[in-house]
């Protein structure tokens, strides 16, 4: 109780709310009692620090806003490296050669894609349903209430309605997320929501539509990179009957599901994915599939509509391939995929607790 009184007094003193008599008494106390003096000094420093934090935070928010609006209005744009002259010269000189080379390449590409189309198994589209979720207005409303209650700054423009949702998870603690390409297809804006209900801006940095994978980068100053990821990625193939679990967002809250690996190939012998028996619903797309060691063995992407509980997941090997491709095409993407899991041997409840923070809901604004 004494401490509360002391805090109260110190605060009134520092804010200049004491009258002369009180102030004199308090200063006397500070002189005679070094502990009190120390407390006042420390408290003064701390309060200053707190208010400096708040002003810098507000300033940063403004900076971010200005950057965003200027980028949108085109006042700042991606920088074009110099030496355009040389490229133009090159073009003038080799125009004809390039035209011939390009047409040969074009014909070859057409021929190959024609052949691939002819030989590849034709997936019956109606049999399979991609598990992205249509978010209805009601859910958006409850969501915005939550946000207000938590006093979290709401970034999604209230007029723009969130139309689709899915799941994504971190492949690198710096904020690189993996999700299914169909979840983020045609998106104009993407937000991801973490386990605390906070919305963060994200952008697509790579789409691999043939594997139905997309890599997002969280682009928000409120995102705090993690030091490491709890799970690793399995590099070899998994065994039949291996128990698996997944986390995803079929509703506005994270949902856990358990199942087993039921076949090593996907629909119509598709070797890129494996078949899992688990309950999955729209919104589960993009969720990680993990084995009991806490290794990611795949990413959920679709379910068969003609059968119960038959779900397909893209194998982790293909996830790694996509990330390799991204690294080749964009050298600035510094993604390090962890191969070992730090949650091996833990109880499931503990494992899920650790993984939860790495799984994000994806909200797509078309």
């Amino acid at each position: 109780m004494d401490q509360i009184l002391l805090l109260d007094a110190a605060e009134r003193y520092l804010r200049g709310e004491m009258n002369d008599q009180e102030r004199a008494n308090f200063e006397e106390l500070r002189k005679s009692n070094p502990e009190v003096d120390q407390f006042v000094v420390e408290h003064h420093f701390f309060v200053e620090e707190l208010s400096r934090y708040a002003t810098v935070k507000r300033f940063k928010a403004n900076l971010y806003d200005v950057h965003h609006t200027m980028k949108e209005s085109g006042e700042i744009s991606e920088y074009q490296p110099t030496e355009k002259g040389r490229i133009v010269q090159f073009w003038e000189k080799y125009r004809r050669t390039i035209a011939v080379a390009a047409s040969i390449a074009g014909i070859t590409a057409l021929a190959i894609s024609g052949l691939t189309l002819f030989f590849s198994p034709k997936a019956p589209i109606k049999d399979i349903e991609e598990l992205r979720r249509k978010v209805n207005k009601l859910e958006v409303r409850t969501n915005s209430q939550d946000v207000q209650l938590n006093d979290v700054k709401k970034k999604i423009d209230p007029n723009a309605s969130v139309t689709f949702g899915g799941t994504s998870f971190l492949v690198d603690p710096k904020g690189y997320l993996l999700t299914s390409a169909h979840v983020v297809a045609n998106a104009s804006q993407i937000f991801v929501q973490n386990s605390k209900g906070q919305d963060l801006r994200a952008k697509i940095i790579y789409t691999d539509s043939k594997r139905d994978l997309a890599i997002l980068k969280i682009d928000d100053e409120d995102f705090h990179p993690l030091s490491s990821l709890p799970y690793g990625f399995r590099r070899t193939s998994s065994d039949l009957s291996e128990p698996v679990f997944t986390l995803g967002f079929p509703k506005d809250e994270i949902v856990y599901g358990e199942g087993y690996l039921s076949a090593k190939s996907g629909l119509m012998g598709d070797t890129m994915s494996s078949q899992i028996t688990i309950s999955a619903n729209p919104g589960n797309s993009g969720g990680p599939v993990l084995n009991s060691n806490g290794e990611v063995i795949g990413i959920l992407n679709a379910r068969q509509t003609t059968a119960e509980g038959v779900v397909f997941a893209i194998k982790s090997r293909h996830i790694l391939k996509t990330i390799e491709e991204l690294k080749e095409s964009d050298t600035s993407a510094n993604i390090k995929v962890p191969s070992t899991s730090s949650i091996r041997g833990m109880e499931r409840v503990q494992q899920v607790k650790k993984i939860e923070d790495c799984v994000f809901m994806v909200k797509v604004v078309l």
């Binding site: 509360i4 300033f59 200027m70």
Partner: protein, 188 residues
């Protein structure tokens, strides 16, 4: 108005966190910094981060009475950005050749050093506030940042009287201080 007075006026507005001042500075300087970073091994995102960090340095300085800018804003921002980028390159060990120079620079080592210290404290405070959870975070923010009095706070957060609210605030503050100072003292 001479250029000098224009810039002084701009700094004053920046000190008040005025959005239009930020816009003006952006318009005048962003391209320069973008060019600097990207021509020296950086990405589009690096350019944004470094530019914004330089603006924070300028902002913090513009708020202090003692600060006097002896050069153009452009030169200052360029110098700070250059210094920050050099440091980052060094820490990433990507540093091979000295960063190209195509602008005049002024010495800013001290300012950058002060900024790094403040930035570290900012990070500690942010993580401490992130850890204490609700309603502590909102309660402390209401009192210390938005300067609400205890009556307003107790009615807003639904405490029966302001003594209860004070009690709660005290507990929250002690937790925040503990978290903050634990890391703060660690770093020294």
């Amino acid at each position: 108005m001479s250029k000098y007075f224009k810039e002084a006026e701009l700094l004053k507005r920046l000190a008040k966190n005025d959005k239009s001042a930020i816009e003006t500075i952006y318009q005048d300087n962003y391209k320069l910094i973008q060019q600097l970073i990207i021509n020296n091994n950086g990405s589009e995102d690096d350019a944004r981060d470094i530019f914004q960090e330089a603006l924070i340095v300028l902002y913090q300085n513009s708020k202090s009475e003692a600060f006097e800018l002896n050069c153009q804003i452009r030169t200052y921002i360029y110098s700070v950005s250059r210094r920050l980028w050099l440091k980052r390159l060094q820490s990433n060990r990507r540093f091979e050749t000295p960063v190209d120079n195509f602008e005049e620079i002024v010495p800013v080592e001290d300012d950058v050093e002060v900024h790094e210290k403040l930035d570290r404290q900012y990070g500690i405070m942010r993580s401490a506030l992130g850890k204490i959870g609700e309603p502590c975070k909102s309660l402390l923010e209401a009192f210390y940042i938005h300067n609400k009095n205890m009556q307003e706070i107790s009615s807003y957060f639904g405490y029966t009287n302001s003594d209860n609210a004070k009690n709660q605030k005290y507990k929250c503050l002690m937790r925040l201080k503990k978290l903050f100072f634990a890391q703060y003292k660690n770093g020294i």
